[in-house]
């Protein structure tokens, strides 16, 4: 009899599991089809901006130098990324530009551009393209034969894009872009005497008493703003630090209020719990918006936003940890004649410290990431730098730099919090 019922229930179980095994993937697939339609993923291929992707990728590992001739007066300017901060002093330039009667730009691989009243571009395997920009247009002439598709020309504009670089002529300006591997001027800008010095020369200069000057030139690099970036990282960590530990300090007494075994008053307990729910429910995003109205952008706003959200989370976790404490230890302390405060100090705190510390340190690490995001919204720390660099849409090498720094920062905090957790919890096991 029991065997039969057991068998029946087993068969029923199998049947249910079989249906589940097919239904679950089916439901998930159906949901993805819905998402596919709702998010218009089919139309995504039209929206992808391939040009943007190409700029982004090439910008990450290379930079371009602009060599520009003003066609009306013949002056030549050379600037890295076309920025004033990266401009070479008049009459100087990288070694692939020779200044003689005419400025000659060697783009490498046999591609040579010569400036002057008449500008020419030798393309190996094709011939010499020349142009005489003036009032009547760019007056371009090409070698005989079919025009390759990398040349675009009209009356007032000539553009040649080859692997070696880009050559543009308009009536007023002739411009050449040359792409070079690496991040431009990462260590020293052009106005620093240390620009272009090899590592060996730098080390020997540092030993001959110029270490301070070298550091100063690096630290105040206007292109990459190393000192400001370092401060931004510090600000981000500061937000996480103040937010997390501030929240822990506020949440600890509130946690006692919300714990059943420490607060006999039901109403008080209920109120404390609703406060935690409210703090957690009004998300960090909304707290950030509200606080930035009062305090303006900056690290303090971010720290307070983290503090408010985490007070809710910590309060909930602390009260749960407090409800799970072992009463025996408290009784033991009480039996020695300890007063209530001493009972908490020696009976409760040693029991919950390892749990609380490990949670707090875990949150500290995860809040470094949140601080980056909050910084992007309120305007503080490395998050602000990142959004600014992305919004300008051209400094992708800086975006890459910030991303690398953020990843390193988060990983360092992860390691630090793990180390502290092991260290503190182990040393606390012996009691106080």
């Amino acid at each position: 009899m029991t065997g039969a019922t057991l068998q029946q229930s087993a068969i029923r179980n199998f049947a249910r599991k079989r249906i589940m095994a097919f239904a679950m993937p089916g439901v998930i697939a159906a949901y993805f089809i819905y998402i596919f339609v709702a998010f218009d993923i089919a139309g995504l291929s039209e929206r992808v901006n391939v040009n943007n992707a190409a700029t982004l990728v090439s910008d990450v590992y290379s930079y371009k130098t602009h060599v520009t001739q003003d066609n009306r007066d013949g002056t030549v300017e050379i600037a890295i990324e076309g920025e004033r901060k990266g401009a070479y002093p008049q009459g100087t330039g990288p070694d692939w530009v020779t200044f003689a009667e005419q400025t000659v730009i060697d783009l490498g691989g046999g591609h040579v551009v010569t400036f002057g009243d008449r500008v020419t571009y030798d393309v190996p395997g094709y011939g010499t393209i020349s142009a005489q920009p003036g009032a009547g247009g760019v007056n371009a002439t090409f070698p005989p034969g079919a025009m390759p598709d990398y040349i675009r020309t009209s009356k007032n504009r000539l553009m040649v894009v080859t692997d070696a670089g880009r050559f543009t002529v308009t009536r007023n300006r002739t411009e050449v872009f040359k792409y070079t591997l690496g991040w431009e001027l990462f260590f020293f800008t052009l106005d620093s005497p240390y620009h272009g010095m090899g590592p060996a020369a730098l080390v020997s200069a540092a030993f001959s008493g110029e270490a301070g000057a070298i550091w100063n030139d690096f630290w105040t690099n206007r292109m990459w703003r190393h000192s400001e970036v370092a401060w931004a990282i510090v600000e981000t960590i500061l937000m996480a630090f103040l937010g997390t530990f501030g929240a822990a300090i506020i949440a600890l007494p509130l946690g006692f209020l919300a714990a059943k075994n420490f607060t006999p008053l039901g109403g008080l307990r209920f109120a404390a719990r609703r406060v935690f729910d409210f703090l957690r429910g009004v998300d960090g995003l909304i707290w950030t918006i509200i606080l930035s109205r009062a305090f303006g952008p900056g690290p303090l706003t971010g720290a307070l936003a983290i503090l408010l959200t985490d007070t809710g989370s910590f309060g909930k976790m602390f009260s749960e940890a407090l409800e799970n404490v072992d009463e025996k230890q408290i009784e033991g302390v009480a039996s020695t004649g300890a007063k209530p405060l001493q009972r908490y100090r020696f009976g409760v705190i040693p029991q919950i410290t390892p749990v609380l510390l490990s949670q707090i340190l875990y949150y500290f690490e995860s809040n470094t990431r949140s601080a980056t995001i909050i910084g992007a919204i309120t305007g503080g720390g490395i998050g602000l730098f990142l959004t600014q660099a992305i919004i300008t849409q051209k400094d992708w090498e800086e975006v890459t730099y910030y991303i690398v720094l953020i990843v390193l920062m988060v990983m360092a905090m992860d390691t630090l919090s793990g180390w502290l957790r092991r260290k503190l919890i182990k040393s606390d096991e012996g009691g106080h």
Binding site: N49, D277, G296, A376
Partner: protein
């Protein structure tokens, strides 16, 4: 006998040594505490100094904005139901972003976790490198990937979904692999003995053991992802966050709509939190019952 008498003779020494050790420890703890408090105060002062508005100047104004919002919301309370209906589709989009990215992240996290658990991974030398990949996925904040994808793909829910899904793969992959480590290898060996391949061994031998824990972590992640998806909307990735930024930028006089969005967002987060915590309780509770009656 001699040992004992020696130990008694050394008694005071031991006590002194113990007391000295305790004193040293107490002093050490005191020093740590002082350093911590000093760091906290110095940190607060630095943050205060670098903030646009100071803490003490801003503190009295902290309720101004909520008061404005609530005031306008109460003043035009009759419009509120309309706004709630108007912004409901955006809320659905935000929830969909979170759900789709949690699902995607869960599926890929499952695969990654099986590939990075020692003892289960089919390719042992890949365990280390894949773990580093998970570390990096977890370390990059969603907003970074989202902003880059918005630049490439334009605004909308897809960049947010991909960004959150990538982060979720990193987070769940690690948690899942910790769960896998506690799974019993007996079913896996049994399946191997009847000639099951790796996929079958994992799908039939490991996953049924750990599914409740997986689900519980995935639900917790879903809660987190709803918040993340609202935040990403705020930087231009669709959903209710995007509407919130727009209504905020209209400024005073339009805060009633912002209030409606606040209410929607708050309710969603609270409801999802409660539901997921109830479900998670049932999942772990259910697991305990099946352990008690094998």
């Amino acid at each position: 006998m001699t040992d004992i008498s020696e130990a008694t003779a050394r008694g005071p020494d031991i006590r002194d040594a113990y007391l000295a050790q305790m004193r040293a420890k107490r002093v050490m703890n005191m020093i740590l505490l002082i350093i911590f408090v000093a760091l906290l105060i110095a940190g607060f002062r630095t943050a205060d100094g670098r903030n646009a508005g100071g803490f003490w100047n801003g503190l009295p104004n902290i309720l101004d904005f909520p008061a404005d919002v609530i005031g306008e919301a109460v003043e035009r309370a009759h419009l509120m139901p309309g706004y709630l209906v108007e912004y409901f589709p955006s809320l659905i989009e935000t929830i969909n972003i979170a759900a789709a990215s949690t699902l995607l992240g869960g599926i890929f996290g499952l695969v990654m976790s099986l590939l990075t658990t020692r003892g289960l991974a089919p390719v042992t030398w890949l365990v280390g490198p894949l773990r580093r990949v998970l570390d990096i996925l977890r370390a990059i904040p969603e907003i970074v990937i989202a902003l880059i994808l918005i630049y490439l793909l334009g605004g909308g829910p897809v960049p947010a979904m991909i960004a959150i899904a990538l982060h979720t793969v990193g987070a769940l992959g690690k948690l899942f692999s910790e769960v896998n480590e506690n799974a019993s290898l007996k079913p896996v060996e049994g399946l191997a003995s009847v000639g099951a391949n790796w996929t079958q061994r994992m799908w039939l031998g490991v996953v049924p053991q750990v599914a409740p824990n997986y689900l519980s972590y995935a639900l917790l992640r879903f809660e987190i992802n709803i918040r993340a998806s609202a935040i990403l909307g705020f930087v231009g990735a669709g959903g209710i966050g995007y509407d919130l930024r727009n209504t905020m930028s209209w400024g005073q006089g339009k805060f009633d709509e912002a209030a409606a969005i606040f209410v929607l967002l708050f309710l969603t987060i609270v409801v999802v939190d409660q539901l997921s915590s109830a479900l998670r309780n049932r999942l772990t509770h259910g697991a305990r019952i099946s352990e008690a009656h094998p």
